[in-house]
């Protein structure tokens, strides 16, 4: 057969594309459930991680349902929009809307009898999105725990925001996101710098843009909840 003819080439390419398309569609759809399960479980792990819950060897899904009591959606004025649905919210989609129309997810949790609020935050790092969960005590100001992660920050530099040394700074001494009743967020400053106007933690050396991203993410992300925090 003449494998160099135009007809052969076109038929070959078409058949190949159809076969590959079916193959990939099959793989994708047969693994979809398993992947979604992983993504959901991972999100639950992230939320529990912000609450400093030890998940070693535990059933994450069960632990989550024991700790997280309510998952309401808030509006920007701080009122409850819906009683449930916070877990299904995609922060990326919500952030694209104007503030008044956003559904703000809130996770109300019980740890050893005390109420904690977990607020998700979402922002941009150097290479891609960064996100996190901030757990607050019931005074809605003191940070109880944090969790940060990223899609593709530089390992060893920006990616250190997901590591324990950076995150433990938020709980090593009490940090407040409000001062004198006004929302101030937490500043991420260059190591050895100080910010007198609000509580701060040290950023990552060599990860300046990612650190600035975290700073902006906290300011904007937590800032959306300012009316809820005042209640």
């Amino acid at each position: 057969m003449n494998t160099n003819s135009n007809t052969y080439t076109i038929v070959y390419a078409s058949v190949m594309v159809v076969i590959v398309a079916f193959l990939l569609a099959f793989v994708s759809s047969s693994l979809k459930d398993k992947q979604n399960e992983n993504v959901e479980l991972d999100k639950k792990k992230q939320i529990l991680s912000a609450l400093n819950v030890n998940m070693e060897g535990a059933d994450v899904a069960q632990l989550y349902s024991e700790i997280v009591k309510q998952e309401p959606l808030l509006s920007a004025d701080g009122a409850i929009k819906a009683e449930t649905g916070a877990f299904a919210i995609d922060s990326k989609i919500e952030n694209a809307k104007p503030l008044e129309q956003r559904n703000l997810p809130l996770f109300v949790c019980q740890i050893e009898g005390a109420t904690k609020y977990v607020l998700p935050v979402y922002g941009a790092g150097l290479w891609g999105p960064i996100w996190g969960y901030i757990a607050l005590n019931d005074d809605k100001s003191t940070i109880y725990g944090v969790y940060f992660s990223h899609a593709g920050e530089t390992p060893g530099l920006g990616a250190e925001i997901a590591a324990e040394p950076f995150q433990s700074q938020f709980t090593a001494s009490p940090k407040h996101i409000t001062r004198n009743g006004e929302f101030t967020s937490i500043a991420i400053v260059k190591p050895s710098k100080v910010d007198e106007s609000r509580d701060y933690v040290n950023g990552i050396s060599g990860g300046t843009i990612t650190s600035q991203g975290v700073d902006a993410m906290l300011k904007d992300g937590l800032g959306q909840y300012v009316n809820f925090l005042k209640q």
Binding site: V17, V27, K34
Partner: protein, 208 residues
């Protein structure tokens, strides 16, 4: 011809050291710089590339007599891209944590020059079994360099290996410090240069 004839063993073993794709052919450098900060992603990356290059070699070799010459690069690319997508989906379903760690680099295997190089230079001209061995050999050769570089970089940049602490605290108390330079991609290039230097010094016949 037997499955493990001298030529076939040569096909498998030569890319691991004497004709290593990274140090001798200088292919796949980009990912060697990107995923070698820590040992674990380097291992998974090496393994993924090995599987993909071996299977892609096999598939392209089976198809080699039917592939129209004018679109052969496209056909090779489609085979590689399909395999990479499958590996990435499987990692997401069964090794979610590792897939998060490797993030974009799994997808970037498509652009790894070793794959296209082997498909074009070997699989298009040789039988399926030889091509499969060639793919395995080149994959292992690539993985070996990645692991050596990642070993040195993780050890000196963080004092850990696979996340476990190996440099004891008392050494730090004596004034030892982690080397932040090891985190930077240029250090991977310097280490790679050292490996090439060592290889050529040991084997003078490799020098031009």
């Amino acid at each position: 011809m037997s499955l493990f004839s001298k030529e076939n063993r040569e096909t498998f073993f030569s890319p691991i050291w004497m004709n290593n794709p990274v140090t001798m052919q200088v292919l796949g450098i980009c990912s060697a710089l990107a995923v070698t900060v820590k040992l674990e992603p380097a291992l998974v990356m090496g393994l993924s590339v090995t599987i993909i290059v071996a299977v892609a070699n096999l598939v392209v070799s089976l198809l080699r007599n039917t592939i129209p010459n004018r679109i052969r690069i496209i056909v090779q690319l489609v085979v590689v891209a399909a395999l990479v997508t499958i590996v990435s989906e499987v990692l997401k379903a069964f090794a979610y944590d590792v897939s998060v760690q490797l993030s974009v680099y799994v997808g970037l295997i498509i652009t790894n020059c070793i794959l296209m190089g082997r498909l074009e230079a070997f699989a298009m001209a040789n039988g399926p079994w030889e091509s499969f061995l060639d793919g395995l050999g080149n994959g292992f050769g690539y993985a070996a360099i990645l692991v050596v570089v990642a070993f040195v970089r993780e050890l000196f940049s963080a004092g850990t290996l696979l996340g476990f602490k190996v440099i004891p605290d008392c050494v730090y108390e004596l004034g030892y410090m982690n080397n932040g330079l090891m985190l930077m991609p240029p250090m991977a290039l310097v280490l790679l240069g050292c490996i090439i230097w060592f290889q050529r010094a040991k084997n003078p016949e490799l020098n031009d």
